[in-house]
Subunit: 381 residues, 2 copies
């Protein structure tokens, strides 16, 4: 499929290293960057210590068989995409300079992918993430934003979790677009298991992606490693709801490290589910967005998706001439006033004001009575 | 009361000019700044044209009697506070350099005040304003923020209108604090009339303030002039709800012109009542605030009211040792794993991991079963 340019020895070395190490373990990703995968795998098989990496992997080393690993994965419908492949999403290479969090970081050794969506098509991806304990409000907004983004041909990337992640994938699917779920466990596994049907659906048009080797269980540390991939695959990350200590803020942190736009959707200040987002906006780490249009304006190339400045509906007042508006502004809201008094307030001639008042009465904005002219309910401030 | 330093002739000239001009009319405030009130009033009585001001005021000129005006105001319980008085809120002088909007701007010629609260006590004032068509959410938040601000001995200033203004005054009153309502009509009038009781209450401990002369009706242009005073009296302005075209955004505009902090409370993005606020936060014109504490941090002298960084409640995980956390992160969430496998994942020795697992089981975060160790629901990511 995409095996053209990467030598077989390198692909196999990467498969082996992927099985040997933990996802995103910096000792591993750092040594791959330094020595190359073939040389590193060789040195490990020669039982070189390599900053202690050997100790970590020694137990698995003899059992690893990359050829069988690839065969087994193929039977599971998984392919292994590595740097140098046509399908490799090169935006992940930015992880090389983005440091580490919780001793996880760097460019993945490779990615396991299930589903027809090619990762190199992720050039216009947007991550939509947030709380697992989402509110109805958050779910609705996440779906709506994901659908808008998907309709504008940006791919929605998320983590397949309960709450906002699920709502985001669903929104993309509802727009008839493929979506990409990046998991913390093996791409052949289903976690959470309640999302079996959703993952099947995603793998039909989109892709289920994992750095963890097939069969791997989800651990907390793997979620943290996974979050860097969601951030790094996407042009920007939208956080819809996040409590003060939410995993979504870890994804946000990676987005900032990658210098990609980080966006947050506000909510009621009385909602704990929005507190983490408000805090990040408050300190200037996140930009406030309220819609898919806001998101597209930020992640798109300049001028591609400019947000129309919000405008209120045109009112009767808007249709007045400047002079009529000036007169209207001088008409009292409560008790009536004569046209001479209104003329004084407006700083205009009595004759001109009298004419404007007659025109204004026709618009329904003012009314004349026994005590003079006054604003109608329509015009009252 | 505070008449000590301002010569009687100047006070009377200011009373007359206040009656002759419109509130905040730039032609008037500009000429007062240029010529002084006594000289300006003299020139007008000599029928000098003065950039057309004479034309505007000629009709009223003969009728003006500042001595009677003050007597009548006194009977209404109003006093006239002018620049130079001890009670003058000197922060208003910043209006001299803040330009104009809708041909309104500049330092007021004087202010009519009803109520015992002295305007020079407004050194720590916070404006809380927003939509008249407020939601229950907005009302609740405005009251809560106003109460918090008032409890911290900052005076809440608002416009006495329906909706957010009313909620803000009410919040301050509920905290047992005086509050200041700045009206667009004369300080002896009640607009909106439904707020009669509230204005009486405010005038008992606080102050009802107006630039418009006693008896003046509220016009739209007077609301715009009034908004500059709300902004200029306060250290900062909080906008709680504002639709895209809301009068509250005019107050916000004045706050920015005065280089005072402008704050906005977010709400559901599905609520039109918050759209104007979100837009202003989005473009960086407003800081996002979620509470009285956030507001106080911004308007107070540095370090006076620092907001405690938001922290989630301490969890069982927080009470673990770093080593225990490292082991916990390597325990699978779904199927069980043996301690040797967990040790490999964690990159730790088997013996050490076995000890940690026993300790972790006591915390209820992991459980041992036939197929090995797994996370409990308590610890599941």
């Amino acid at each position: 499929m995409s095996a053209a340019v990467v030598p077989e020895a390198e692909r196999l070395a990467r498969v082996a290293l992927n099985r040997l190490g933990e996802p995103g373990e910096t000792k591993m990703t750092g040594l791959v960057a330094e020595l190359g995968p073939v040389r590193l795998y060789e040195l490990l098989r020669e039982e070189r210590d390599l900053e202690g990496l050997l100790t970590d992997v020694a137990a698995r080393l003899t059992a690893v068989d990359p050829v069988r690993e690839l065969e087994r994965a193929d039977r599971l419908g998984l392919r292994f995409v590595v740097p140098g492949d046509d399908e490799w999403p090169t935006q992940l290479d930015d992880l090389a300079g983005a440091g580490s969090l919780h001793e996880r970081g760097g460019v993945p050794v490779g990615l396991w992918v299930r589903g027809p969506f090619r990762l190199d098509a992720l050039v216009k991806a947007v991550a939509v993430v947030g709380s697992r304990a989402a509110t109805t409000y958050g779910d609705g907004i996440a779906s709506a934003i994901a659908a808008d983004v998907a309709r504008a041909e940006h791919t929605v990337v998320s983590g397949g979790a309960f709450g906002i992640d699920r709502a985001a994938h669903r929104g993309a699917v509802s727009a008839g677009a493929p979506t990409v779920a990046v998991l913390a466990c093996g791409a052949d596994r289903v976690y959470p298991s309640a999302h079996q049907a959703m993952f099947e659906h995603i793998a039909r048009d989109g892709a289920v992606v994992a750095e963890a080797a097939p069969g791997c269980a989800p651990h907390r540390i793997r979620f943290l490693a996974r979050n860097r991939l969601i951030a790094a695959l996407s042009r920007g990350t939208v956080v819809v709801e996040a409590a003060v200590r939410s995993g979504a803020l870890n994804t946000a942190n990676w987005t900032s490290r990658l210098n990609r736009p980080l966006m947050g959707v506000p909510g009621p200040v009385s909602s704990g589910a929005s507190a983490g987002v408000h805090e990040q906006i408050r300190v200037g780490a996140m930009s406030l967005v309220t819609s898919g249009a806001d998101v597209l304006e930020i992640v798109s190339g300049s001028g591609e998706h400019l947000v129309e400045p919000l405008r209120a509906e045109e009112t009767a007042r808007d249709r007045l001439t400047p002079r009529q508006r000036q007169v209207l502004d001088a008409v009292p809201a409560a008790s009536g006033a004569g046209s001479d008094s209104i003329a004084r307030t407006a700083g205009l001639g009595v004759r001109e004001v009298a004419g404007s008042l007659v025109a204004l009465e026709k618009t329904g904005l003012v009314e004349g009575g026994l005590d003079g002219w006054r604003l109608t309910a329509l015009a009252r401030p």
